[in-house]
């Protein structure tokens, strides 16, 4: 009753035999060893587990690993290329868009997708776009600033 799945995670191919009930977030964290996606709730509310599945932000705690079979996954560990930070990572750092850091990987990946879909978002678009990611520390202000900064940087 186990299934063999093959995923392409951060550009690398992984193949494992897993129980169908294994959640993608547990697969990434415990089988593959990528612990950047965090688990903050079990009701698909908080977004701390957000990863990109075929380029789209999804909550990895509400996706089965078997559903991701054959698909491409990008985690927070995979967005800095050749040791240089992604523009959104850099902006989060510069703008102090994180405190405890627990929501940050999910927040950054959602922000990346937001900018991919809307390169010049308004503040309102940013706030709505981040509705699926809860942060309890920052009050969101610096996160909004960071997304704006990343947008203007990539627009240069």
């Amino acid at each position: 009753m186990k299934k063999t799945i093959t995923l392409f995670i951060n550009g690398q191919r992984y193949s494992h035999e897993v129980e169908p009930r294994l959640l993608l977030v547990h697969y990434l964290r415990e089988v593959v060893g990528l612990t950047g996606a965090h688990i903050g709730c079990e009701t698909s509310t908080c977004g701390a587990c957000t990863v990109l599945l075929d380029g789209k932000a999804v909550k990895a705690c509400t996706v089965l690993a078997v559903q991701a079979d054959g698909r491409f996954v990008t985690t927070i560990e995979g967005i800095a290329a050749n040791g240089s930070l992604d523009a959104v990572q850099e902006a989060f750092w510069n703008e102090h868009a994180l405190q405890c850091g627990f929501c940050t990987p999910g927040m950054i990946l959602t922000a990346k997708q937001l900018l991919a879909r809307e390169p010049n978002p308004t503040e309102e678009q940013i706030r709505h776009g981040l509705e699926g990611n809860l942060c309890r520390c920052t009050g969101y202000q610096h996160i909004v600033n960071a997304v704006q900064a990343a947008a203007s940087r990539s627009g240069d």
């Binding site: 990528l34 903050g40 709505h128 520390c137």
Partner: protein, 778 residues
């Protein structure tokens, strides 16, 4: 008063440096408890009571034990030898129920731990949990603290049928006289609803026992690793030096991790019992019932005043919902509210009667602000109610009653000594920022056009830098060790345990300035009891004011020693320390810090009465709290059709003393304000009459989302504290403390012309709509 020997423009204190903690956090490479992995690690799941009150007639674990991968199931009897979950606070006559690690014959709240399953895999542990059979006999429960005080109410603990956990009184001045002489008395019942802290990372523990070394290591998501070590060692009856507690990366606390929990001792017990490392990660559902809640006040206020607005006296009857047990500081939290009763005002006559009440609910304890937001909410709402009664402007009545800037140190009626302040300054700045007069005019016009615009003001004071040791059951000092390594780099070991506040950066800024080293050469370590000297931890906005001061003094000690070595190397008595080098005043020759460090460790020659090496440790006891203050103004618009509130503007002017890093201070303010806006508009831990928590997940308990809140405009005034040489006061709770009354005052102000005087939080659209309906039909 901060003394540095140079005015070089390169000083880092005061600069908005980006954080040195962030690279690991933004790349997903930080290690939180759930990221800790060990060979042979097992997983634990905890069975919790679904009942608020019930007798346990029996527990059958045999089916669970037969499940695949299950190695053990433990129940209350198995851990009966462990000490109770500690209550650290002491009050005269305090009733402390026996708080065992697992329930034995009876449960007292939904979420009460009953049994623990240990399996080789977390999925298998979860499966086995369902196979434990408990024979429950449900009992009547009580969830409302005021109902719990009524005669005939179910007894939470049968031994205390009145449900009173403690009573406490405090009085200053002559309250009866003040009320007798008053022109006006206003009264109001105010509720500070129960809240759930919701740190984004739930709690978790990994325990590892090494029998050969008789050494136990606990990785736990905590704000207070050393206190956990002392208290868990006590519960386990184990020598303290056999227990190492590590707070790895901690994903938010807000007071909820300023505690010692049953699971910490329980996992230690399990690891020792099975001889393997064990991990327990709290689920969010567990977190909602098994981690402390905050607030839970019902306050009855009376304020006496003269017709000109002068506040003469304040009376408060405070009912604190304790929950089923005391956690670490539960009974102490409402006493902090009482200390802060008079706020920033000169009222010398106060009386408070506090009753702590047991309910069949999750224990309450410190949650961001811990007693101080409640007190500020009380006085700041009452001042607005008084202003409305006297038809005075809410800003004017505040100016009238402020402690004057020339009156510091100011002795309050509750026995505090306010350190420094200029309370009018932030209010003036906030009023200017919003163009108050124009804004009132716009409000009047909007009202004529049928729009409901409100302007809410709060001016708050807070007690920070907790605190002098006499005020805390655990001691209130803090420690720092600074090591200048042989190569000249600096390692700081701080007794605080930051988890997002940013001291790896701010402390490095202080070190870089004091020693004149590059910030890149400074490493700040914390959170590991085997690495760091004893410390108290992170809470009560104490990190920089106390921990930073301990660091500051350790740095002064090292500078003295550096000078001694410098004098020896320069062969001169007339030397000064000048940012990274020791300079001979006569010859102008100098030696650099790395040269001195090398010489001190090599120790070919030593100055007289001086040991080799460059290490200094300081334990610093603060002489007083610090008292930050500020003013917040909130402009809101109420949708008269739906009752929904929109925040049009939020202006915060905070004075937290000297600012080390403005960027980080702003972050603290934003976060605090939004957490408070959660209380004002969304959050409420709702129990039904049987003690079921009906807001049991994030799908029913709303915390603010990015789209729910506006941009926060954050400004500062800077009044140094004389309590510590850095002049800092603390900022971790300011936003939470200043916000709730300002926001509620704003909404009430929007409806004031309808005769609305008060609405309890959370200000949900339905509640506001009903108030408007009632007023319009009245």
């Amino acid at each position: 008063m901060a003394t540095t020997t140079t005015k070089s423009p390169a000083l880092l204190v005061g600069q908005s440096l980006r954080r040195r903690e962030d690279p690991r956090l933004i790349t997903g490479t930080a290690t939180y408890v759930d990221d800790v992995k060990m060979p042979g690690m097992h997983h634990a799941c905890i069975l919790r009571s679904p009942h608020a009150a019930a007798r346990i007639r029996g527990i059958r674990t045999s089916r669970a034990l037969e499940m695949p991968g299950v190695v053990a199931v433990f129940t209350g009897e198995d851990v009966a030898h462990l000490g109770p979950v500690p209550c650290g606070a002491a009050l005269p006559g305090l009733r402390v129920p026996a708080h065992t690690v697992l329930a034995r014959d009876r449960v007292y709240y939904v979420g009460h731990p009953v049994a623990v399953v240990v399996a080789t895999d977390r999925y298998l542990a979860a499966d086995a949990l369902d196979a434990i059979e408990v024979d429950w006999e449900p009992l009547p429960a009580v969830a409302d603290p005021e109902k719990a005080l009524e005669p005939g109410s179910p007894a939470v603990h049968p031994e205390w049928p009145d449900n009173i956990a403690f009573t406490y009184k405090q009085e200053g001045g002559d309250v009866d006289k003040a009320f007798a002489e008053a022109d006006v008395v206003v009264r109001q019942r105010l509720v500070n609803q129960r809240l759930i802290p919701v740190a984004m990372e739930t709690r978790g523990v990994v325990a590892e026992w090494k029998p050969g070394d008789r050494q136990l290591t606990l990785y736990t998501s905590t704000q207070i690793p050393h206190l956990v070590r002392t208290l868990v060692a006590g519960m386990l009856k184990m020598p303290e030096n056999r227990l190492r507690v590590v707070a790895p990366e901690v994903g938010g606390g807000f007071g909820s991790k300023l505690n010692v929990y049953a699971e910490e001792a329980l996992m230690a017990f399990v690891a020792m019992k099975i001889g393997k490392p064990v991990k327990w990660i709290e689920s969010r559902r567990e977190n909602f019932v098994a981690t402390i809640h905050g607030r839970g006040h019902v306050d009855y206020y009376e304020v006496a005043a003269k017709r000109d607005g002068t506040i003469l006296g304040i009376k408060l009857k405070l009912i604190q919902d304790i929950g089923a047990y005391h956690q670490l500081l539960t009974p102490a939290i409402p006493t902090l509210s009482i200390l802060m009763m008079p706020g920033l005002y000169k009222c010398k006559n106060v009386r408070a009667d506090l009753i702590g009440v047991f309910t069949n609910c999750t224990p309450t304890d410190a949650y961001r602000g811990a007693g101080r937001p409640e007190a500020t909410y009380g006085i700041e709402r009452m001042v607005d109610i008084l202003a409305a009664e006297l038809q005075m402007d809410p800003a004017e009545i505040r100016f009238k009653n402020f402690v004057g800037s020339g009156e510091f140190p100011y002795q309050t009626a509750t026995g505090l000594s306010y350190d420094s302040g200029d309370y009018a300054a932030p209010l003036r700045k906030a009023l200017e920022t919003v163009s108050y007069k124009t804004l009132r005019e716009e409000q009047r016009k909007a009202r004529e056009a049928g729009r409901l615009i409100g302007i809410g003001i709060s001016t708050y004071g807070e007690i920070c830098a907790l605190g002098p040791s006499a005020s805390l059951p655990c001691g209130g000092w803090e420690s720092a060790t600074v090591k200048i390594e042989p190569g000249g780099q600096v390692t700081v070991l701080t007794g605080i345990s930051p988890h997002g506040q940013g001291e790896e950066t701010t402390f490095a800024q202080i070190v870089a300035d004091e020693l004149g080293v590059s910030i890149d050469d400074v490493v700040v370590l914390h959170g590991d009891t085997s690495l760091v000297q004893y410390g108290i931890g992170t809470f009560g906005s104490r990190n920089t004011a106390i921990g930073g001061t301990a660091l500051y003094f350790a740095l002064q000690d090292l500078k003295e020693k550096l000078k001694k070595f410098g004098a020896m190397l320069l062969e001169s008595d007339d030397v000064v320390w000048n940012r990274g080098r020791c300079v001979c005043m006569k010859s102008g020759k100098e030696v650099t810090l790395p040269e001195i460090a090398a010489a001190s460790y090599r120790a070919m020659k030593l100055p007289e009465n001086t040991d080799p090496g460059l290490v200094a440790t300081r334990f610093w006891e603060p002489p007083n709290f610090t008292f930050p203050f500020g003013a917040h103004i909130v402009v809101t618009e109420v949708d008269s059709e739906t009752g929904a509130v929109q925040i049009l503007r939020y202006v915060a002017v905070d004075d937290c003393g000297k600012i080390i890093n403005p960027l980080l201070v702003r972050g603290q303010i934003h976060g605090g304000v939004v957490q408070a806006l959660g209380q004002v508009f969304y959050e409420h831990a709702v129990y039904d009459e049987n003690g079921q928590l009906v807001t049991g997940e994030l799908t029913d308990y709303a915390v603010p989302k990015a789209s729910y809140i506006p941009a926060i405009e954050s400004y500062h005034t800077e009044t140094p504290s004389p309590v510590n040489p850095l002049g800092v006061k603390g900022v971790g709770e300011a936003g939470t403390i200043g916000c709730t009354p300002a926001a509620v005052n704003s909404v009430v102000d929007a409806l004031s012309h309808l005769g609305v005087r008060h609405i309890d939080m959370p200000l949900t659209p339905e509640k506001i709509w009903k108030v408007i309906q009632d007023r319009r039909t009245a």
